[in-house]
Amino acid sequence: MKFTLKIWRQKNADDKGGMVAYKVDEVSPDSSFFEMLDQLNQQLIGKGEDPVAFDHDCREGICGTCSLYINGRPHGPLRGTTTCQLHMRVFRDGQTIYVEPWRCGAFPVVKDLIVDRSALDKIIQAGGYISINSGGVPDANTIPIPRQKADAAFDAAACIGCGACVAACPNASAMLFVGAKVSHLALLPQGRIEAERRVQQMVIAMDRLGFGFCSNTYACQAECPKEIKIANIARLNREFLAAKLAAEKEKDIGFTL
């Protein structure tokens, strides 16, 4: 197969950057999108040019390192698929493909197609955990958890932290990412104990880091490679509201957490 690629090139964070056109041919339809980019890079290296920098690591759809808008869509055209699991058979022979980095104020470009997503780490650091130490915990079967609850927690915990939800959102909101983590932990009895504190701290961090608000476009759900549901945003809102109300009540009776 043959393709024309229009790829965003940007030397570093300070560079203005722009789209550059490349041609690549003799691509196997069984190649992954990154194997096609590898092929292009081999070509560029052969000519002594700087290869295109892109983030990738596991290449099996689980580490969340990969990103990219492909023809304007985060992780390309397939539902529930990361860029690394996208294969060239999905495209038409001769097609022009536009490849760009995530566009979001909280994710500055590092080089070419690579962005800095450490803002997502900072949200987790603000409270995306259960505050226990390694040791002194009860036997794992002490607290039975209904299977449906455990499954729902798993569905939320499947987030790979790639940032596609932010990239898809017209407001660059991280609500799906935050909602998934809040849900994962709030659904489990172990995570309930500090649920109120957690949701407030994570939301504060999210706002402070410059992510936008949610206006229910559902784009995040449509583009999430792990198909995480927007219901998690609803749960995030409920948890947040409940935490705020509880905090008010505690203020009334002169008791704060």
């Binding site: 700087d50 690591d57 397939l78 294969h87 650091q125 995306g128 955990y129 927690a153």
Partner: protein, 645 residues
């Protein structure tokens, strides 16, 4: 002369870890904050160690090459994590897990370390559940288990096909909490290129900031390497693209011994290679073997038609299929350990029964299981794996059998460590896949996650305190010491040399070439002639690489080709050591199969008389490496021919 001693306490096996903990020196809380520890790598071992050491109050500096710790390749582990909980009441206990691990490792691991691992395993599950890891559960609300390759009990805990991901997120979250608390400082997008040794002790590292290209120095009172395995020496493997041996290799060059480098695990169920530009191999969890049946056609003529796509596998009649694992190993059938399953697949393909256009694939068939259990049950168990397969291969495994072939997956060899997980360099520790300690010549399924977390959460935090208790009066190590200058200069010079090479070929060209040599001569089966040839070929490749590589871009900027070049340079040297190790070990054991040493029915034939030892290699500047032995003493387990028949 280096004398290798594990230094496990001299009490009965079952009491050793308790005895150790009772006797080991501790560091008081007010002193912990004065001690710096560097942890390299943020997979299960590294993240769990960083989190726990931070909780204890040490000053932790954590390094990873990825943009965030949560991406480390432990995340890709699918199947599960073993623990001797005996929740299923099916006869499991600590001794049995210990015994299975020793036997599965073909009696080439250390009893004391393995027993400790088995005895810690239940605690790991408790901790992970408390962290919020959503393991699979039964309708009654209790944890579910499954059996896993090579075990006759159900002791594997799992979170769908994403157990590694969920465990890593647990460890990453615990570590994030410490970052917030200020006890762990994260340095992401850093490649660790050298270990700094001062007065015989590990005191720091030299790192390259991958974004700016800056060469940075970091110091500490102890250094922990949790940098994973070296499977990418084969170019194609199930490892992440960035997985590399470089930090461990620099430790080797600074005096840490490298043990059993030839012990590599070839995983039996991976998606077969499709073409020249293939960049990596994808694993299909071993759990598939619980319900899938492996077969090839009984007739070579059928295999030929299948290869030419003139016949579909569904059209081959039951009587014309050879379920070769069930035939050869009636007791374990499709659940034989990985090394046995992989070799059996290779044997059939070498004999001309392989399918797929390359002839290098066998079938993994779910039609019986779907008939018996229904499509919904199979989908609930393996849905995500089937989907992944379909995405990559463009074929529907509910209808057509999957095609699979073995691929490099895990490396049992690694830095030699003692009972305290310390290498032969004082103050330098190695945990997780990076060390050699627990899996002998073959690792059992679902044991890697167990080891990584045992080392990081529960073992290292104790053992490192013994060492650090002697360091409480050592002030922070200045990075202006001559040793740091020297190491930084060596790194800078090597980078400049690489960049200055006026060659024509890309780094990948050499990496691919190395991979082909290793796979051909030091892969699933090995022999003296091939290994001898490989030494010559690797030597030639090293020279070609030194003069023939071309690296675009600059030194002081984001430059992935430069990163790769550094790693491949180390892989080439490691390849040489692996081949030497494979050549010297004149026996077959676990993943190391020497064709000259096999039983009449083609099973691995150990030579316990001569080879019941760990081969630990010492780097020699401009000379061949020297081998040291740690004799393995089996006091509890009796050595036997491993049989799964």
């Amino acid at each position: 002369m280096i004398r290798l001693k594990a230094n496990a306490p001299g009490v009965p096996l079952a009491d050793q870890w308790d005895a150790y903990k009772s006797g080991c020196k501790l560091v008081s809380p007010n002193n912990k904050g004065k001690l710096d520890i560097i942890v390299v790598g943020t997979g299960l071992a590294g993240a769990s160690a960083a989190a726990t050491l931070g909780q204890l109050g040490y000053n932790v500096k954590s390094f990873c090459y990825q943009d965030t710790p949560r991406r480390a390749h432990s995340i890709a582990a699918q199947g599960g994590i073993n623990a001797a909980k005996n929740y299923q009441n099916d006869g499991d206990n600590i001794f049995r897990l210990f015994y299975d691990t020793i036997k599965g490792g073909d009696y080439r691991s250390r009893e004391s370390n393995v027993y400790r691992l088995a005895s810690i395993s239940p605690e790991i599950i408790d901790l992970c559940v408390a962290q919020g890891v959503p393991f699979a559960r039964e309708y009654g609300g209790l944890l579910a288990n499954r059996s896993f390759g090579g075990a006759q009990v159900s002791r594997t805990f799992y979170a769908r096909g994403q157990t590694g991901q969920q465990l890593l997120i647990g460890a990453y979250s615990a570590m994030s909490r410490q970052i917030e608390a200020g006890t762990v400082k994260l340095y992401n997008r850093r490649d660790v290129l050298d270990i700094v040794v001062v007065d015989g002790k590990a005191r720091g590292i030299i790192a390259r900031n991958l974004v700016t290209g800056e060469i940075e120095r970091y110091s500490a009172h102890a250094v922990v390497l949790a940098t994973g395995g070296y499977g990418n020496v084969f170019y194609l493997s199930t490892n992440a693209m960035g997985s590399n041996v470089s930090p461990a290799w620099s430790a080797y060059k600074k005096g840490a011994l490298f043990a059993n480098p030839c012990f590599t695990q070839i995983h039996p169920t991976c998606i077969p290679v499709h073409g020249e530009f293939q960049s990596k191999l994808t694993l299909m969890s071993e759990s598939l073997r619980n319900d899938g049946r492996i077969w090839v056609p009984r007739e070579k003529a059928d295999a030929e038609l299948l290869r030419q796509k003139k016949l579909r596998p569904e059209q081959i009649h039951e009587s014309k299929r050879d379920y070769y694992l069930e035939r050869r190993y009636p007791a374990f059938g499709n659940l034989v350990p990985r090394d046995v399953a992989s070799r059996a697949a290779k044997e059939r393909c070498d004999e001309g029964y392989g399918v797929s256009s390359s002839g290098l694939a066998v079938y993994l068939d779910f039609s019986n299981a779907i008939e018996r259990l229904g499509r919904d049950t199979i989908s609930a168990r393996y849905g995500n794996l089937f989907q992944m397969y379909q995405r990559i291969v463009d074929d529907n495994p509910y209808r057509t059998p999957m095609m699979i072939y073995p691929a490099v997956h895990y490396t049992m060899g690694g830095l030699w460590v003692d009972y305290e997980l310390m290498t032969t360099v004082p103050g330098l520790y190695s945990i997780g896949e990076c060390n050699f300690s627990d899996h002998g010549a073959n690792r059992l399924g679902a044991s890697a996650l167990m080891q990584g977390l045992a080392d990081g959460y529960f073992i290292l935090p104790y053992t490192i305190s013994g060492y650090l208790s002697h360091e409480i009066n050592t002030p922070p190590i200045p990075t202006t010491l001559p040793e740091f200058h020297h190491a930084a200069r060596e790194v800078t010079d090597r980078l400049a040399r690489l960049k200055g090479t006026k060659g024509k070929e890309s780094v990948d060209h050499f990496h691919r070439k190395l991979g082909r040599i290793m796979w051909e001569y030091c892969g699933m089966s090995r022999n003296e002639a091939g290994l001898t040839r490989a030494i010559g070929l690797i030597g030639e490749l090293k020279e070609e690489f030194a003069s023939g590589v071309r690296i675009p871009g600059g030194l002081r900027e984001y430059n992935p080709e430069l990163e790769k070049a550094w790693r491949v340079g180390d892989f080439i040297e490691l390849g040489n050591l692996m081949v030497r190790d494979a050549l010297h070990r004149k026996e077959s054991c676990g993943g190391h199969f020497r064709e000259e040493y096999q039983t009449a029915d083609h099973e691995a034939l150990r030579n316990d008389e001569e080879f019941t030892y760990v081969a630990a290699w010492e780097h020699k500047e401009n000379a061949v490496p020297e081998m040291h032995r740690e004799e393995l003493h089996f006091e509890t387990v009796k050595l036997m021919q491993r049989s799964y028949k």
